[in-house]
């Protein structure tokens, strides 16, 4: 769980005296950790709809997300740091998304890619089955508008997230959403996700 002081996720660290946290060695350690996290954002290979095509295009030949160290798409949520929610989130999918997010180890980041996951997008008004924004389900770090956003925009979002991780390391993370969807159709009690 992200604590209120920002990105330090190791249990017990936030128990340290705030003044001690400011001391030279600990800030250096924090800097090194942030540096690593910044340059090794492994996204989860997780696409929902149209935006996922642009996410793939961003990882592919012309735009090459791997330049920023963010091109290692992991299929298992256990090994990924960044969830790019690309596409429309439906009510049926929301519990699974939530579960995948919970399966990711801390520190984890979420980019809400596209109009649909920001606020329902074009489906907001008449789409009964579309969640009105992914931030109702998981906390979002970067909102990336567009329908779908261009790959340049996704690169920009990742750069912004990198900036946020290191340069604004102490900032508060977004609040946890209140509504926690239950998985209604998990009849066999099996894991619905990769892990």
């Amino acid at each position: 769980m992200p604590d209120e002081h920002g990105m330090s996720m190791i249990p017990g660290e936030s128990l340290l005296d705030p003044e001690l946290q400011q001391s030279v060695i600990l800030t250096k350690v924090q800097w090194v950790k942030d540096w690593g996290r910044r340059h090794a954002l492994w996204p989860m290979a997780f696409g929902l709809a149209c935006c996922a095509m642009e996410m793939m295009a961003t990882a592919a030949t012309k735009y090459d997300l791997d330049r920023f160290g963010a091109g290692v798409f992991r299929a298992s949520p256990r090994q990924s740091d960044l969830m790019i929610v690309a596409g429309t989130l439906s009510h049926k999918m929301a519990p699974r998304l939530r579960r995948l997010w919970e399966q990711m180890p801390d520190p984890k980041y979420v980019i809400a890619m596209g109009a649909c996951v920001i606020g329902g997008g074009p489906y907001s008004k008449f789409g009964y089955h579309v969640v009105q924004g992914v931030d109702l389900v998981v906390p979002v770090d970067v909102y990336l508008p567009g329908c779908p956003p261009r790959p340049e925009a996704l690169i920009d979002a990742i750069r912004k997230l990198q900036f946020r991780i290191q340069e604004r390391s102490g900032e508060t993370l977004p609040d946890m959403p209140q509504g926690l969807p239950q998985d209604p159709t998990d009849e066999d009690g099996e894991e619905t996700s990769a892990a």
Binding site: C50, T61, P122, K125, F126, G127, T185
Partner: protein, 406 residues
Amino acid sequence: MSGGTPEGPGPDLGSGGEPAGAVEFHERQEAVGRDVRTEEMVFNMGPQHPATHGVLRVAVKTDGEYVRALQPHVGNIHRCAEKIGESVAFYQWIPYLDRMDYLAAMCNEHIGCMAIERLGGIEVPERAEYIRVIVAEIQRILSHLMAIGVYGLDLGAFTPFLHQFRERERGMDLLDHLSGGRLLYHYVRIGGVKRDFSQDWLDELEAFLSSVETRLPEYNTLLLHNRIFQARTFDVGIIDPAMAAAWGVTGPGLRAAGVDWDLRRDAPYSIYDRFDFEVPVGHSGIGGQVGDCFQRHWVRVREVEESLKIIRQALAQMPEGPVMGRVPKGFKPPAGEVYMRGENPRGELAVYMVSAGKSDKAWRARCRGPSFSNIACITEVAEGMLIADLVALIGSMDIVLGEVDR
């Protein structure tokens, strides 16, 4: 479970086991000795799984590596396109059609607009028809390139996937320069298209066509002619013509099964009857068996070549003139209904629209996503195959979940 010994039913294996005799076993099971107990596992492939091409969830009952039964679960990105279709005005629905099959947006627009035009009796200028065919065929090339590349990815070859993106990006740029969008365009409008080609764009198009022409053999070297690829796809996931017809499989899946059927030729819409092109049909001469994964892949590759032909012919025939017909302001078609079918890259998209008259909204807007029927048939095809073959099968169907769930 197969725990039955010759003497009688095997011991209860607890959770995960089915009651004895509930599941029929494949012949190969008999190779397991009598002391070996096997137990079935239920895998949930997806919704977050690299092989499901989106958010398909397939519950697979396996015995070791063999698939015993499977059930696809869809609806994870059900986006209510039909409800929206009857809630918004006709012209407002076209962008939603784009988003149904996001890899074939132009084709969807084309067919959706034609449905509405037929409903309202709107004439489309000649030049606009040609432009529509050209952009739809560019879209078909892009979609098939994606399908070819992603199929490689499913089979573990990463490089063809990224290589096809090189051509795909050129094509996307092309449509971007024409319409302003890379993936979803809203370029085809009711009554015509948004804007005309420019000479620069035509030059760009020519460069794109020739680059696809030169690069396609390279992709074939990486996949189609690759020994491992052939070993993975030959005789895997065979769909015979009767099965294809009964399940409603259309598009490359149907043609690979040996059914010589292409709406562009057999029920020509738009101006497809003016072009001379072949319809690739799976046959035993190309390797593998008719209707297997390899033949579906081969049909896609061949269709890219045919699309190139159609575009070249359309460019040569294209007349001068306006690109937008006369569409009455506050367009309200008379009461009636229309069923418009068209050949999408994935199969037959059909739009069934009912107009109540005196309204700018459809009374009912129904879509038949080709992938919806294509993916349903894997329940029958996949029984008894290996998990790796299941991945090959799903990949070869080339589904787009946005269209399955709509």
